[in-house]
């Protein structure tokens, strides 16, 4: 298994509070991604990073920010959590393989509940 951990694994927070989720990898992969998974929507990309301090928005980035100060860590912050951000959040990593593909490897997920 790829070395990807997410913390916390479960969190319950109140509306309006800030929340930070952490993704940590030991694979030295360049690319890191944050997704959210909701019933009926599949996986939706929130933000991604293509290197230290290089990040960009995905399709559902409103209300979220990210930071990557080290190759191994990618942080997702909800500045002021809302109930609509209740979801399961997955981190993924990728890099070019010898075959030239960029398959992703996923972390175990963080279940976030905003009350």
């Amino acid at each position: 298994d790829a070395g990807i951990t997410q913390s916390p694994r479960h969190k319950v927070t109140e509306t309006g509070t800030p929340v930070t989720l952490r993704c940590h990898q030991t694979e030295n992969h360049r690319y890191m991604y944050w997704y959210r998974q909701d019933p009926g929507h599949g996986l939706r990309l929130i933000h991604y990073s293509y290197g230290v301090k290089d990040t960009d928005k995905g399709e559902v980035s409103d209300g979220y920010s990210v930071s990557r100060s080290k190759t191994e860590d990618f942080l997702l912050t909800l500045e002021s959590a809302t109930s609509s951000q209740t979801s399961v959040y997955f981190c993924a990593i990728s890099d070019a393989t010898l075959a030239g593909s960029y398959e992703q490897y996923f972390g175990p997920g963080t279940r976030l509940t905003v009350t």
Binding site: S101, Y102, P108
Partner: protein, 114 residues
Amino acid sequence: AQSVTQLDSHVSVSEGTPVLLRCNYSSSYSPSLFWYVQHPNKGLQLLLKYTSAATLVKGINGFEAEFKKSETSFHLTKPSAHMSDAAEYFCVVLGSGGSYIPTFGRGTSLIVHP
């Protein structure tokens, strides 16, 4: 531009019978294609991948997929379903040309009856 369509949201089979999960894609470039599996309350696991080598790709747990360019399909098959195959399956397309942002299908839930 790239997109992927999983043609069935749910597939129900009996244990020991064949499995077919259908996926169609579109891509402006020669794509890489992937199937991922997600068991309940788990992360996604790479099942198999196509990257312009052999068109018939073998994956883990007896799964296979065939890349058919003329049909723009990448269907996932298994000769004999096992109870442990019950999970959500995602088809994913990634265009070539240095792209590293994949597009996910909505997922197919495989139900296996004893």
